[in-house]
């Protein structure tokens, strides 16, 4: 018992929990007796105060600006970039090593492995060959002439490197192209130059180059940050031009650009991948999710993929096409379904192969009641009280849950909530999952009695998924958490104490807007942290 208490207290005091606890106190989402008085001091240090919420420029970081760590493109970003720049649709990055996560989202912030280095080079060769054989016009002048070569290098080099090439680089790549052309011909020169660009760190890495000594380095770096955050792809010529013209330096202009980018169809990819990773439902398409075949004969990879598409479409629809609020995300009964998914939900099959449908009232409300979410957070044969409780606590409310203590010697006859070694944490999650018992292991509604409780909220008791979604729909804690998730996604790292001020500003903007997720995106994208963050951190 003594050991349990020590572990539990340690869990509540682990770095990050303190700040989160402070948020919870302000918003009334947590009533734990363990809350520490130190948190207020941390907030003050960060410059945030309820009585005097600072404006963006008032965030002062005494120990250096927040970090936007160097990372390599994710597989999605690589594929989207070669698609948007060159029309390559073959998704070549599927051959790459799986992305590695940071802060809960794909980041590739670790050192590249030898295998991946080989893949970068060999995939670049294949992509370059595909580009040269494809329809994109790489040059409309005579590449036997120097000015034409210079134009090709400057124009396409800028697109691939997402910045102007330096004088040195222009000369180096002109010489490289010329050498290849003279030895192997123009097509080979195009192919090899493109290969070199695609295998270059200036293409593969997103980094603040602190010794770049280029007048527009920061502006172009900001354009890349924006485009990979909002489009999961490289900046286009227009955005690079806006960066070069200094428009990203002006907050008002920047905000307009961000809103325009959100209106662009490319934003859908970002929202889709954010949703998948935030809710941990990417497993639906990797073959990881398995269900008991006797109990769930209808569950197969095709149905899992349909579930995944539904979740992606739902988030993008709410944010890009609808009201865009957290409430709507947790309340809407619109669903993008195909025939098998329509059957699971008990609604009519859409006219085309896929389409929007209205799910049954009283059974479904918002993203937490969707089949994909419920399927991933379930066991093979039944729904999982623990998994569903964990995901709500951790990813909807942004509360840290310590890992279970190692090597417990448990008496299986004693329930988790009755065992002091387990109850400290499970009391936070199991009652939430109990309220989702009405959905089986593939998210079918069974109508089973499902009374749940979500401690820390003003109205903790609820019935079923619809009730849970209603309890959460207007909770400030959820609005803050969505903002935090977007912050982590934009910065591709975990939250630190140095982010308190930035987060408070962004979260307040979302709360003031009534929980508008677009405002969260705009607030993060226009934050000082995102715009001016450097690459701080310990050596790997």
């Amino acid at each position: 018992m003594r050991r349990t208490q020590g572990w539990l207290i340690a869990g509540l005091l682990i770095p990050g929990c303190g700040a989160l606890q402070a948020d919870a106190e302000r918003t009334g989402t947590d009533t734990s007796d363990e809350a520490s008085g130190e948190d207020g001091a941390e907030e003050s240090d960060g410059g945030s105060d309820d009585a005097d919420v600072p404006t963006d420029a008032q965030c002062v970081w005494e120990e250096g600006v927040p970090s936007v760590p160097m990372r390599r493109l994710t597989r999605l970003e690589y594929d989207n970039t070669v698609r948007d720049l060159f029309g390559v649709m073959s998704q070549p990055a599927l051959a790459f090593v799986d992305d590695s996560p940071a802060g809960g989202f794909d980041a590739n912030d670790i050192a590249v492995s030898e295998l991946q280095t080989r893949l970068y080079i060999d995939v670049a060769e294949a992509v370059a060959a595909e580009i040269v054989a494809g329809p994109v016009l790489l040059s409309d002048c005579d590449l036997g002439e120097v000015p034409c070569v210079d134009g090709f290098v400057a124009t396409w080099g800028r697109r691939v490197f997402r910045r102007d090439l330096t004088e040195v680089e222009l000369v180096e790549y002109r010489d490289f192209f010329t050498q290849m052309r003279d030895e192997h011909g123009i097509d080979a020169a195009l192919e090899h130059t493109l290969t070199a660009w695609l295998a270059s760190p200036h293409f593969l890495y997103l980094a603040h180059r602190e010794s770049a000594n280029e007048p527009l380095a920061d502006a172009y770096a900001q354009a890349s940050r924006l485009s990979f955050f909002l489009w999961s792809s490289a900046p286009d010529d227009a955005l690079l031009d806006q960066a070069a013209a200094g428009q990203l330096d002006e907050l008002d202009a920047l905000e307009g650009i961000v809103r325009d980018m959100l209106d662009d169809p490319r934003a859908a990819d970002t929202l889709a991948t954010f949703t998948e990773q935030w809710l941990h439902v990417e497993a639906l398409t990797t073959g990881v999710v398995a269900k008991d075949a006797e109990l769930y004969p209808s569950f197969d990879p095709a149905l899992a993929a349909s579930m995944d598409r539904e979740l992606q479409a739902l988030f993008a629809d709410v944010v890009l096409e609808r009201e865009g609020t957290v409430r709507e995300l947790l309340q809407t009964r619109r669903a993008w379904v195909d025939a098998p998914l329509a059957a699971l939900y008990g609604v009519d099959t859409p006219a085309g192969e896929e389409g929007w449908a209205e799910l049954p009232e009283g059974e479904r409300a918002g993203i937490l009641t969707r089949a994909g979410f419920l399927t991933v957070h379930a066991h093979e044969r039944e729904g999982s009280v623990v998994k569903r409780g964990v995901i709500v606590r951790r990813d909807l409310l942004c509360e840290e849950l310590p890992p279970p203590p190692p090597e417990l010697d448990l008496d299986p006859a004693v329930g988790r909530l009755d065992n002091p070694q387990c109850a400290g944490c499970h009391v936070l999650m199991d009652p939430i999952g109990e309220g989702l018992r009405e959905y089986d292991a593939i998210g079918r509604w069974t109508g089973a009695p499902s009374s749940g409780e979500i401690g820390g909220l003003p109205e903790p008791s609820f019935d079923g998924g619809v009730g849970l979604s209603e309890v959460l729909a207007d909770a400030e804690s959820v609005q803050r958490c969505v903002t935090r998730q977007l912050f982590k996604f934009s910065h591709r790292r975990a939250i630190t104490e140095a982010d308190a001020c930035t987060l408070e500003l962004a979260e307040q903007a979302v709360i003031d807007s009534g929980g508008d997720i677009r405002e969260a995106i705009v607030a993060v994208a226009t934050s000082d942290s995102f715009r001016f963050g450097l690459d701080e951190g310990d050596a790997p």
């Binding site: 760590p69 160097m70 599927l94 051959a95 090593v97 799986d98 992305d99 590695s100 996560p101 670790i110 050192a111 590249v112 492995s113 030898e114 295998l115 991946q116 280095t117 080989r118 893949l119 080079i121 294949a126 180096e172 490289f176 290849m180 080979a188 090899h192 070199a196 295998a199 270059s200 760190p201 200036h202 890495y205 980094a207 603040h208 180059r209 602190e210 010794s211 770049a212 497993a283 990797t286 073959g287 990881v288 999710v289 398995a290 008991d292 075949a293 006797e294 990879p301 066991h379 093979e380 890992p403 190692p406 090597e407 299986p412 450097l534 690459d535 951190g537 310990d538 050596a539 790997p540």
Partner: protein
């Protein structure tokens, strides 16, 4: 994937070959002396109940019978070339799920099962000492997270395994059938390309934050290594053939063919003298995404390896749970271990012995027989003239990390401890 990869390690030999002669016929054998080789295998989850494999009481020894106990039965034909160790503990990170500490003999970073290894793993250590590249393979080691990587180059440096047999083939043998003139032209172009990439990396490295420079350096080193391979090349001592692999898929149905393909490639790179150190990891920790529903491979149990089979066997013991578990693990033993041993035994090495005679296969499990860190089974297979085979030995309380220096010593690198000396008690007899 398509054949993107071309690891041109045979360039030098190709360039030296007189034109007009069959390419591979020009290769002398790389070395007439037999080399010792080592291959590490990992099974996910536990090694089942002790009675499924133990052949003596705790602390006892016994000669291996001709018919091995149920779990090891598929290996009975190799009984005289096996050394079986029982009842070892995993002291390096004393936690059930944590394959990333198996080969390091050290705790993971911060002693956390969710972090990477904190030191070099034995396979990579031996490869460095032998000046070869370790062949690091794995079946569906997804997603890319610490418990899906058991091979490590050092602190927080997990090694990505090759998971597609076609990638392995292209990586090691991609250019073997290209004529020397074409090959030389490709080599020259590739060198120019790599020079260009190295130049960009060098400049980029000087521009990024100081603490990121080691990461760029790792990238640069990898590129330089590929460049060096173009210059050096090695001599193939066999014809790798032209195996055909289906399109790689990570779906469950592809697991048997992928596993077989990776074993084939492991044998091939060993036989051809490409490397002398390899590892093959079957899934990530728990392998819960894998289900042995592979009728064509003779097994059709619609349950996942982790919860459906391993946990059910422990938490809900029943006759069916035992039958299912035994069937799935026997399949794994049959296909992963027995198949590898058979294929190695079928190849003739330069000294006339079989490749298996000159190879040490070290088969470990993620967990011990209690579905935690205790009661591990370890099986070593290989030549009886240099390994102490034919015995079952129980070492209750000894660490599985004590097996690592025994393996290293047999490979010619004598040591008593590999990894953390605080958890080591000297090398086991092998």
């Amino acid at each position: 994937m398509s054949r993107f990869l071309n690891r041109r390690r045979i360039i030098k030999a190709a360039a030296a070959a007189p034109l007009g002669l069959p390419f591979l016929a020009q290769f002398a054998k790389a070395d007439e002396r037999p080399h010792k080789r080592v291959i590490f295998l990992m099974s996910p989850n536990d090694c089942m109940h002790r009675e499924e494999w133990a052949m003596a009481e705790q602390g006892g020894n016994a000669s291996l019978p001709r018919e091995l106990p149920s779990y090891l039965a598929p290996l009975s034909a190799f009984a005289d070339r096996l050394a079986v160790f029982g009842d070892l503990h995993k002291k390096a990170h004393n936690r059930s799920h944590c394959p990333q500490s198996l080969l390091t003999g050290t705790h993971t970073l911060n002693q956390n099962a969710d972090t990477n290894a904190s030191s070099i793993s034995l396979d990579q250590f031996l490869a460095q000492e032998m000046d070869v590249d370790a062949a690091t393979f794995g079946v569906r080691c997804l997603p890319n997270q610490p418990d899906a990587r058991w091979s490590s180059l050092g602190v927080d440096q997990p090694v990505d395994p090759i998971m597609d047999p076609a990638v392995a083939f292209d990586l090691y043998f991609g250019d073997h059938d290209i004529d020397p003139v074409t090959l030389e032209a490709k080599r020259a172009r590739k060198k120019s390309l790599l020079d260009r990439v190295s130049g960009d990396l060098t400049r980029f490295q000087s521009q990024v934050a100081a603490h990121q420079r080691p990461r760029v350096e790792a990238h640069l080193e990898a590129v330089r290594k590929i460049e060096a391979e173009l210059d050096e090349g090695i001599m193939l001592s066999c014809d790798p053939g032209s195996p055909t692999f289906g399109k790689h898929a990570t779906d469950n149905a592809s697991v048997p063919s992928t596993l077989k393909g990776l074993i084939d490639m492991m044998v091939q790179v060993m036989a051809c003298g490409i490397t002398r150190v390899g590892s093959l990891q079957f899934g990530r920790s728990g392998a819960e995404e894998m289900r042995p529903t592979w009728p064509e491979a003779g097994i059709d149990i619609d349950r996942d390896f982790h919860f459906g089979l391993a946990h059910r066997y422990w938490d809900e013991p029943s006759e069916q749970a035992t039958l299912d578990r035994r069937a799935s693990e026997t399949w794994l033993a049959t296909h992963m271990v027995q198949y590898l041993l058979q294929e190695l035994d079928a190849r003739v090495d330069v000294d006339g012995k079989s490749l298996l005679d000159n190879t040490m296969v070290v088969w470990l499990h993620e967990m011990g027989s209690h579905h935690n860190a205790e009661g591990h089974l370890a099986v070593v297979a290989g030549g009886s003239d240099w390994l102490d085979t034919g015995m079952f030995r129980s070492f209750p309380g000894r660490g599985i990390n004590d097996l690592l220096p025994a393996v290293a010593t047999k490979m010619g690198f004598a040591m008593d401890v590999f990894g953390d000396p605080e958890i080591a008690t000297g090398r086991l007899p092998l």
